[in-house]
Symmetry: C2
DNA sequence: AGGCGTTGAGTTACCGGTAACGTAGGATTA
DNA sequence: TAATCCTACGTTACCGGTAACTCAACGCCT
């Protein structure tokens, strides 16, 4: 029955117990486990045998505490898991982090800065190795917390020339501007926009602003813009198009917050027998997976979401290990002209 | 310059400093911060004023260490962020957890049990409040770790009548079986399947097994099954259909691992002018967002992914707070007959 | 033989909180 | 008035590791 107890009781086995069982001091056992050197092979074998036999699992909390170090956690905040672009970014981040023995602590901020602030405070109290935040807007208190915590930090998504610490992203305004200019060059004059922005300071709004500016500069008319209170998915694209067209039937081309919404629009047009691009032009953003199976190439802006995540994690890891990291990284974007305009 | 230092230096402000500044003992300051009572209002005000002035941020690591307690972290393992169904589950989990002051530690296992084992060991060493694992298959060492750690645990996704601790999910075999029976009732005799299974023990394979069993029981013929080495998305559905039909043109109906793959198939058929359901029947699984914008109702299995996550988190939270929790929760599924078969 | 460096340990103190216990002084009660 | 209780604190010890230091034994050199 003794063997059974060893593995099933409340796992109270700590270094002292292992050391005692192996007939050495706690310190020696510690050295063996950290492969620090300064012990004989015989001792190493004895200690490791006891570690195995007792099922010893180190208490990393104690280690962090002892050395006043950080954990291996990296806090990653994203606005929303329902939005496909962010899950791609998150995947890029996590893949890179795990390969360097770090763990992602998720923070869904629901597009609310107050939520983000609360989350930042909580995560910082757990001594994370670093932080990755989506977006460049934060509450004043959050900024102060981040600065005084002095933890490696990457702000992603929207490019920020003066980040708190580091930044990885792209210029959303420019991507919207380029799309606007391109559509103007196609001869459109009456423009529409459908998105789901929740607050004024986010990247989608920057894209809309760039789009509007291009239209203004080019003498066109942004006759209708819609910001739904929803996640930017297929169905909001579908009913958003319906709403927009019913309130302004003269719109010639619509720029959507992302490809999923644009695909929703494509399906709406198919259902209503509205020809694309004959009757109306459709443009998306982000080049999401669904675009790969459409019968025609969607006009969109290609962005390497995974790359943003990877680059953010890479820079963070550099900083964590004390190396020099790039303060601002622009991953860029590429306009895909497509066949839907 | 003194004020500046307070907020910008390495945040070495701890309870002792706060206490000293407030002219009380560390213990009194601790009591105030935890609102434990046993202090005067005057003292409370003094301490809180210093907390504010010095920008004190509690070291939760120390608290956990002192009390030999757990952190507020909950480890959540999912196979893959690229698979939309899991992001829905994850969203359900995280939403519930944050509302109870817990944080999600993400673990992407990439469908590999060895990855999961490593991750479990790491996360356990950080004293998590609980664990949620996707899938019922684990390595023997992982099971042993979980048992001896004695941490609240929910295995989700695939229903398991004898979970390690708790389980929330649905019977995937049955959902596949029901789909098979339904398709048989529609008069089909030659069946196909396209999925992306990575290992033998996962839920998608259970669905396939149920599907195959139903076909066998009903006297049909599962003439072709395809398991691509890819994520179950739109494009794999597209080219998987192409592959399957080119190797066996007599297949009358195809059951896909999920709706996204099925939609990929729909697009393939449209491109090839193959009529649905005239020339071929298409069935999906999971009722994903894209299905909402199709011109016809997709034949599929409706599953409340968000609910699985929520329920898992709820049960976990009950157990964490010492209450009684349901060991096995079946969230069920519903066959959506649709118009694509 | 004496001095010295190396190897393989053990000892002590400490990280930042909190549980448990101790205690002074005022209020309440017998 | 003395015994008792309560309030509002302070003191001590400890959680499980690790940094920094100490030290004995042994081999090697001059």
């Amino acid at each position: 029955m003794t063997e059974f107890k060893i593995s099933s009781k409340n796992n109270k086995i700590n270094l002292s117990e292992v050391a005692k069982a192996a007939g050495v001091s706690k310190m020696t056992a510690s050295r063996v486990l950290r492969e620090e050197g300064g012990y004989s092979e015989k001792t190493r074998v004895k200690v490791m045998a006891e570690v195995e036999r007792l099922g010893y699992l180190p208490n990393r909390i104690a280690t962090v505490f002892a050395g006043d170090k950080s954990t291996t956690f990296v806090g990653v905040s994203i606005p929303d898991l329902g939005n496909e672009v962010f899950t791609h970014v998150l995947e890029g981040i996590d893949r890179k982090l795990v390969s360097f023995n770090h763990q992602t602590v998720l923070g869904m901020t629901q597009h609310a800065l107050a939520e983000e602030e609360t989350w930042i405070e909580t995560v910082l109290s757990w001594k994370p190795a670093g932080l990755i935040l989506t977006g460049r807007a934060h509450t004043p208190k959050a900024v102060q917390l981040l600065q005084s915590a002095n933890v490696p930090l990457v702000e992603i998504w929207d490019l920020n020339s003066s980040p708190i610490d580091m930044c990885v992203g792209l210029n959303h305004f420019d991507s919207g501007y380029d799309m606007g200019r391109f559509l103007l060059s196609k001869g459109y004059t009456r423009f529409g926009y459908v998105g789901t922005s929740h607050d004024a300071a986010n990247a989608a709004t920057s894209r809309l602003n760039g789009y509007a500016k291009a239209i203004e500069d080019g003498g066109g008319r942004l006759s209708k813009q819609l910001c739904l209170n929803d996640i930017p998915g297929f169905y909001p694209g579908f009913y958003g198009t319906e709403q927009l067209l019913s309130s302004d039937p003269n719109v010639e081309v619509i720029f959507f917050q992302n490809d999923n919404m644009a695909v929703g629009a494509v399906h709406f047009c198919q259902a209503q027998h509205i020809s694309i691009p004959g009757d109306i032009g459709i443009a998306g953003w982000g080049e999401l997976p669904i675009a790969s199976v459409l019968p025609y190439r969607l006009t969109t802006v290609q962005v390497n979401h995974l790359r943003i995540g990877q680059l953010a994690a890479e820079n963070l890891l550099l900083k964590i290990s004390g190396d020099q990291a790039t303060p601002v990284s622009d991953v860029g974007f590429r306009l895909v002209t497509g066949e839907t305009v």
